[in-house]
């Protein structure tokens, strides 16, 4: 990003004669050089700059694999659209009270492509002990423009974002597969600035994994959560277990062709109408593919 010069005084030369510029060579503190120039040799753990640990992810994948394979029976189309190297922003539709789409996409891409996916999300748990740490170790990153830019541009990673946010997951079951507003198009702006493509993903099955049949705005306000749902799962598995166990809906995912932007990267601002236009086009294309997947779906449970 452009480095905003904060304090720029008169030209640097003006001071040079007063202050001089000799580089220091003195022994400031008696210090041994680092034992190793490579940090990896000094580290005991494998937690990266984002708090993600590949070992923890591998464990999570091992535990989640039966769910992925036998519960949701996930099937992908167009996985070849996800780049094998370089940064890309994965964008998908979002649904289910506690959404299973995020772990499914992260699990699928990581095991198929063998490269990490960072899930950008509102960190509702960062202040919750244990949960916040686990969320971070397994690839969760607080969704902020700065974090996203760093992941995509500086580190050329894959990042996953659901632009609908909690408007997508908090939908009543009767509104399933109606894509909500894609925010203010911030995700498009970040991809433009980072100079990476957006890879849209249409997903079906996520809405039926945990459909919301009733919502309590009063309880949501009381607990300061975005929504307080009563889910169909609670009628099947009981009030407590029903809050965590998804129904075994069949998951189908379709990766669309990457969207690239014909603008220069690393700009401070981008044309708002251009950003919104792209955001809406991506939303519409995901909506269209979701409808197409639904047209060909004979059964919620068997696909």
């Amino acid at each position: 990003m452009a480095d905003a010069p904060t304090e720029t005084g008169p030209p640097v030369d003006a001071w040079a004669d007063v202050l001089g510029t000799s580089p220091t060579g003195g022994d400031l503190v008696p210090v041994a050089p680092p034992s190793s120039a490579d940090d990896r040799e000094l580290r005991l753990g494998d937690v990266d700059g984002w708090g993600r640990s590949e070992r923890m992810r591998a464990l999570a994948r091992r535990l989640y694999d039966p769910v992925y394979r036998h519960w949701f029976r996930v099937e992908w189309e167009g996985l070849e659209h996800i780049p094998r190297e370089g940064g890309a922003l994965l964008v998908a539709n979002h649904g289910g009270a506690i959404p299973s789409d995020a772990p499914v996409i992260m699990h699928g891409v990581e095991s198929e492509l063998g490269r990490p996916v960072y899930g950008l999300a509102d960190n509702l748990f960062r202040s919750v002990p244990v949960l916040g740490t686990l969320w971070s170790r397994t690839g969760g990153v607080p969704a902020s423009p700065d974090n996203a830019y760093r992941l995509l541009h500086d580190e050329q990673q894959l990042a996953l974002v659901f632009p609908e946010g909690t408007k997508g997951t908090g939908k009543h079951v009767r509104d399933r597969y109606q894509l909500q507003r894609f925010g203010r198009g911030g995700f498009v702006e970040i991809a433009m600035r980072a100079g990476v493509p957006i890879v849209p993903i249409a997903i079906v099955g996520n809405e039926e994994a945990m459909p919301i049949v009733w919502k309590s705005p009063a309880l949501a306000r009381l607990l300061s959560v975005p929504y307080f749902p009563v889910t169909a799962n609670q009628f099947v598995f009981g009030p407590v277990l029903g809050l965590v166990v998804p129904l075994p809906s069949k998951f189908r995912l379709r990766v669309l062709a990457p969207v690239t932007f014909d603008v220069a990267s690393n700009q401070e601002r981008y044309n708002r109408s251009l950003v919104l236009e792209h955001a809406e086009a991506i939303r519409a294309s995901i909506q269209e593919e979701v409808r197409d997947l639904l047209r060909h779906r004979r059964s919620v449970w068997f696909g």
Binding site: P10, V12, S22, G26, D39, L44, S127
Partner: protein
């Protein structure tokens, strides 16, 4: 160069003065502080002042210094009480800024702390110099650092004759520096907050000194983050120094450590407790682009600290230096002393 250093009584201040003594371009180093220097200094003049540096303007005028290094800000809230914190960080900085504005001073280097950014659950993962903090200041320490930072920024904006460098330090790890984390990691067992394992960043004490020397000898106006590259989770830091962790309750954490302070077992500052919960990392690419080369990353700073603790467990340190006024006056000023 003629240089005035505040905070000479701190380990960092003494180290910086000693390094400057060896610089051929440096003619005069005058150090002020309420406390005595921590290292024997050969040419540096020490002047004892009150903790708000009220006399620093007169000293600067009398010595015609062209450079002021303001290293005296307190960044550990357990060091002094709330009143004294305000005196040193806010009033002290006001006096230093007054000394720098108008007169012979052409350069001001101020050492501050990354506590300026705070540490909260909705923080971005990396603070750049222009990233605003998320929440209002949590306590007196953060407030005083922010107020002091504002005054220095205003000087930089208003007085174009003075080149101002503001440095924001991550927590320093080192054997002598006495920073909160260095202290905590020397306890027999170290605290953690149950269920939290934050991303932390450390600065090797060598880089802490070198960053100031760099700003002194080079022309780098602006504000810069100073920290070892990378982050490390607290659990790994503790494992690296070979310490067992003891969980503190996630609620009422400050009250839980209060008895430790009362019993004089360990004083863990509030700002350190906040870091043990949410951590913090700052982006140092701007200072690197300005030309500064860090010798240590966060991981190697932790490793160096672990080595030091292992050494100390087997061999005692050399005797500590104690400032003796008469001896220093004799060595500095007596005609009997042979000076080259």
């Amino acid at each position: 160069m003629r240089i005035l250093v505040t905070g000479l009584g701190s380990y960092l201040g003494s180290r910086v003065a000693r390094a400057l003594e060896q610089e051929p371009s440096v003619e005069v180093v005058v150090g002020v502080d309420a406390d005595e220097p921590r290292l024997p200094l050969t040419t540096t003049e020490f002047v004892r002042v009150d903790s708000s540096y009220s006399i620093v303007q007169r000293i600067a005028a009398a010595t015609r210094v062209d450079t002021i290094l303001h290293l005296g800000a307190i960044t550990d809230s357990t060091e002094v009480g709330r009143r004294a914190l305000h005196e040193t960080n806010v009033i002290g900085t006001a006096n230093v800024v007054a000394a720098a504005a108008g007169g012979t001073v052409r350069k001001l280097v101020v050492k501050s702390s990354a506590h300026i950014y705070g540490s909260s659950f909705d923080d971005p993962y990396w603070f750049r110099e222009d990233t605003p903090r998320k929440r209002p200041p949590e306590d007196g320490l953060e407030r005083s650092l922010l107020e002091s930072d504002d005054m220095v920024r205003e000087l930089a904006e208003d007085d174009r004759r003075v080149m101002v460098t503001r440095l924001r330090y991550a927590d320093v790890l080192g054997g002598e520096v006495g920073s909160p984390f260095s202290r905590v990691l020397q306890l027999p067992v170290v605290p953690e907050i149950l269920g939290f394992d934050p991303r932390l960043q450390f600065l090797h004490e060598h880089d802490a000194v070198a960053a100031i020397i760099f700003a002194t000898l080079n022309q780098v106006p602006g504000v810069f983050n100073v920290a070892g590259a990378g982050v490390m989770p607290w659990s790994e830091v503790c494992a690296a120094v070979g310490k067992r962790r003891v969980p503190l309750p996630p609620l009422l954490t400050a009250s839980a450590v209060e008895p430790l302070r009362r019993l004089r077992i360990a004083a863990i500052p509030k700002e350190t407790l906040r870091l043990l919960r949410y951590g913090r990392a700052i982006d140092t690419s701007r200072y690197q682009r300005a030309g500064f080369r860090f010798t240590h990353t966060t991981a190697s700073a932790v490793d160096a600290f672990a080595q030091l603790l292992r050494l100390r467990s087997s061999a005692s340190d050399a005797t500590e230096y104690r400032y003796e006024h008469d001896v220093e006056t004799f060595l500095h000023h007596s005609p009997s002393v042979v000076r080259d």
